[in-house]
Amino acid sequence: MNVIALVLCFVGALFFFAGTVGLLRFPDTFCRLHALTKADNLGLGMIAAGLALASGSWLVAGKLGLIWLVTMLGGTTNCYLLAHALFAARPNRAPDGESV
């Protein structure tokens, strides 16, 4: 049980790492946005699942699930809002600037 939990956690952490690397390495804001939200939400989900397994309590598991859902909801909204705002701001500016 604990081993599975740990593995889940570490895989989650790897996703986080991937997101962060994406945030660092990708060329423009849109890509960073994309990489980050996807990877992080996934990572958090795995860690939450792992910890829920490790805790062995339904109550805790429920709470972890709730936290995951809330984070996803927030993250998605944020992602959308940022992207939307960026997109709206883009056409007025220099054509195809690589950095936004």
Partner: protein, 223 residues
Amino acid sequence: MYGILLAGAMAFMLLDAVRILPSEPSGLTGVVDSQMANSGVEHPVTAVLLNFRGYDTWLELGVLLLAVMGVLLFQPGTDLARVQPLARSDAVLRLATSLLLPLAVLVAGYLLWIGKYAAGGAFQAGVVLGAALILLWLSGNATLVILPPHGFRLILVLGFCAFMAVAVGLLIAGQGWLELPPSQAGSLILFIEACATLSIAWTMAALIIGLQPPVSGKQEGGP
């Protein structure tokens, strides 16, 4: 440059001071533990905050009240009634808000309730609720936030007044100054905390929203 020197000297003095702080405990843990049974709650921090040192908390609510008064000083009418509303947001944010808001209310209630047993309490609950109100306002729907002036001000002073009311009530009942009788301490604390949560929530909202410019139109007086 001499600023850095000054800060350096200060840092030196402080570091030197903490270096020689005694490492053995000299706090009040023991005293708090010995009185926990009489406090009406089970979480020591809440007990200290609302019972042992409740006086401080009352005054702290006063500070909060003053801050919101100071912010609203520049709003006509000292309330949020004439704040320029934000444009209606797009559907995604509205949807998210409509999902997050009830959740936040739930979480606030949960934090308020759990304050009796563990970390949590009026302030944290109030801030969560206040954040939800701000989110609501940000999504362009401010009807719930911007109450009618009298009601709005009443909510702002509610927490501060709840403390006062309890204190006066206890004085009339012959108790000492803010002396909660152990048997009713729990419910009194819950009452105060509930009122304070509401106050803090609207205060937090007003601290942000009150800073927005008022609707254009003649501003009162003017230099």
